[in-house]
């Protein structure tokens, strides 16, 4: 893959990179750092990409692992328990709020499947887990998401 191709394909999936990073990391600054590191590593390890058709999936996997590193470095502080639902920030949707309320594993799996459109097999590869685990996380994630959406709606 030529450098120009690499750049073009990264630009084409910039939005996806943002969403995946944002799903993993609550801080925008961390998202920026993670994607930068992921791109540098992807470029450095480009010779390991054996089929260019898998570029995006491969890049997502690198990004997710980079996000895991950030997450480990600085796990998010536990949210304070409160009866009140905070007012949504500008630009935020109820779905995004509900997603953010889910455990990280469920959140990422749902995001990859229902927003990015990856299949179960692809997600299994991206996350490095068995396909059965992905299916389970989707099942569980959907149920939890419904609960969160209902809860938010009731609190509004």
């Amino acid at each position: 893959m030529l450098q120009a191709d690499f750049i073009q394909r990264v630009r084409a999936c910039e939005r996806r990179l943002y969403r995946v990073a944002r799903t993993m990391l609550p801080q925008e600054s961390d998202c920026e750092d993670a994607v930068q590191e992921a791109l540098l590593r992807a470029w450095d390890r480009l010779d390991t990409l054996r089929q260019e058709a898998y570029f995006e999936t491969w890049l997502m996997r690198i990004l997710i692992n980079q996000c895991k590193t950030f997450y480990r470095r600085r796990p998010p502080a536990p949210a304070e328990l409160t009866e009140d639902i905070p007012q949504p920030e500008p630009g935020r949707t109820p779905l995004l709020d509900a997603l953010d309320a889910l455990p990280r594993k469920l959140r990422v799996t749902l995001e990859l499947h229902y927003i990015e459109g990856y299949g179960i097999r692809e997600i299994a590869r991206i996350l490095g887990v068995p396909e059965g685990t992905v299916k389970w996380q989707l099942n569980r994630g959907r149920a939890r998401l419904k609960q969160e959406l209902k809860r938010e709606e009731a609190c509004r």
Partner: protein, 530 residues
């Protein structure tokens, strides 16, 4: 699958700027491109030989069960043992199911009070490196284990070699596997419990390897203590995939400089990562003292097929519901089935309330333990969780051939604390049977792989559509009687190659006691569980 509307806010300008800044900073190197294409050519050659995946956490399946239960079917003229000076490596048993190859291997070190780090080097098939795939069981890195000293001097593992279904040629292959033995004087310490959760402990002295998709682990080369994972059998599994020489080698421009990164994980499109016991030699942690290698011929007539393709009884009752198991088939390591649990009174309308904690799925358990991959099926479109289904289930795990009465169907629930499913209640005992007629028909349709179009070594089975029961779609108002979706007929595939032998019993290959020669290594200390 219906995709959701993008719920995220617009991409921040700062994020966009960072991406652009990063892209602008990339170096343009023609050398990289040339190297890439040369390497790609080599990889394609290798891929034509075999695309295999090896599950790294071999112990997941169970270290010694294979030895206990698989039958000896001969073929003892294989070179399966390499032992000298107390260092030994043997392949003990092999089961090859066409797509998945399982071998048990035994490692041994001298009982001289020293602690050794032992691990497998990069296997090759017909001289080409095996390409690992990271999609299964690779959330830990099987790098090296501690043996000798305070630890066992022999140990047996089961190593699953998971074939990529597209391009495996089933004949005239030779699998070569090497084991490397390192000596270390450092003591070991268990990795802290909070490690996996990214606990806040000082990592300033740690080295982190980019593992290209595998959960990263850390090692502290400058510390006096080495960290390890303690697997079920008590043998430490060292977290040694993080050390500077590997980092440096991975960053090196010359691919040859990465020669010591022996084990590569990844398949089509996935990054190679370097985890290998061979790299230990340059870390200062341990020094290489011995290598042993074993060669294993793989021929088409070694492939075993279904052990069972049906059940003596496939309908069961449970708590006012009927459970039906269809399309059951079982091999040494997998159970496939479609399983339905339908309430007698029909499925009420889906009101969106799903009791996941009641019937998340149906599971198959063996000897009281869930088979891997049991978390299939679901109830997401079912009201109140009154119906569970598991369509096209594939349970991975060891199937105890000698204890078939222990194969059971269970209702499972999700345990939030352990973030996994657990057995709620055993519903029925399954009695697998072999339908010879069906097996012969299937054998006749069996196709040896010559193209990437289909899985080798196994005829296509019936396919099920749609993926959820018809009753899953809620109707307005009243309850409805559930019904199963229609099955499409089994497709017949052209016989591009001669069919495999029609014998249906599994063939396994095991070295004789003499060949295995464990006792001949003069070891007096036995490992735990061996």
């Amino acid at each position: 699958m219906k995709r959701w509307k993008d719920p995220f806010p617009p991409t921040p300008q700062a994020f966009h700027n960072r991406v652009e800044q990063t892209l602008r900073g990339l170096e343009d190197t023609d050398m990289r491109e040339n190297r890439h294409y040369k390497k790609l050519t080599a990889l394609l050659v290798a891929a034509l030989v075999a695309l295999l995946a090896i599950g790294a956490v071999a112990a997941v399946i169970g270290s010694n069960r294979l030895k206990q239960d698989l039958t000896d079917a001969g073929a003892n003229d294989l070179d399966l043992v390499d032992a000298a000076d107390g260092f030994g490596f043997s392949i003990d048993e092999v089961v090859w199911e066409g797509q998945e190859l399982y071998l048990s291997y035994t490692l041994a070190v001298p009982d001289d009070g020293n602690t050794y780090l032992v691990g497998l080097m990069e296997p090759t098939i017909n001289g080409e490196p095996v390409n690992y795939r990271s999609s299964r069981y690779l959330d830990r890195s099987f790098v090296a284990m501690a043996m000798g000293g305070d630890y066992p001097v022999t140990h047996t593992f089961v190593l699953p070699v998971l074939a990529d279904s597209r391009e495996l040629e089933l004949r005239d292959l030779k699998l070569d596997v090497r084991a490397a033995f390192f000596r270390t004087d450092r003591p070991f310490e268990y990795v802290p419990d909070f490690y996996e959760e990214g606990g806040m402990y000082d990592t300033s002295e740690a080295m982190t390897l980019w593992t290209g998709g595998i959960v990263q682990q850390r090692v502290f080369p400058t510390a006096d203590t080495l960290y390890y994972w303690d697997e079920d059998d008590g043998v430490p599994l060292l977290a040694l995939d993080i050390f500077q020489p590997v980092l440096e080698a991975m960053a090196a421009e010359d691919a040859e400089a990465k020669g010591h990164i022996a084990i590569t994980y990844g398949s089509d499109g996935w990054p190679q990562i370097g985890l290998a016991p061979a790299g230990l030699d340059s870390t200062g942690i341990a020094s290489l003292v011995a290598e042993r290698s074993v060669a294993l011929p793989l021929n088409a007539d070694m492939v075993s097929h279904d052990l069972y393709n049906g059940l003596a009884e496939n309908t069961f009752r449970y708590d006012g519901m009927t459970i039906t198991v269809e399309n059951f088939r079982m091999t040494h390591f997998t159970i496939e089935a479609d399983i339905w649990m339908l309430p007698d009174e029909g499925v009420p309308e889906n009101d969106g309330e799903v009791d996941f904690d009641r019937f998340p799925t149906l599971c198959v358990c063996v000897n009281g333990e869930l088979m891997l991959g049991s978390a299939w099926g679901g109830t997401d479109t079912m009201a109140d969780g009154v119906l569970a289904y598991c369509e096209d289930c594939l349970y991975d795990g060891y199937v105890p051939l000698g204890n078939l009465e222990k194969v059971e169907l269970a209702v499972c629930t999700y345990d939030a604390e352990v973030e996994d499913i657990v057995i709620d209640e055993v519903v029925a005992k399954l009695t697998p049977v072999l339908d010879e007629t069906a097996a012969e028909e299937e054998a006749a349709a069996l196709v040896m792989p010559t193209s990437p179009s289909g899985p080798p070594g196994r005829a296509p089975t019936t396919t099920s559509t749609p993926s959820v029961p018809a009753c899953a779609t809620p109707s307005s108002g009243t309850s409805q009687t559930p019904s199963r979706p229609a099955k499409s007929p089994a497709p017949s595939a052209p016989a591009a190659n001669p069919p495999l032998p029609s014998g249906r019993r599994a063939r396994t290959y095991r070295a004789s006691e003499t060949e295995r020669g464990i006792r001949g290594w003069g070891l007096t200390k036995t490992s735990s569980g061996v």
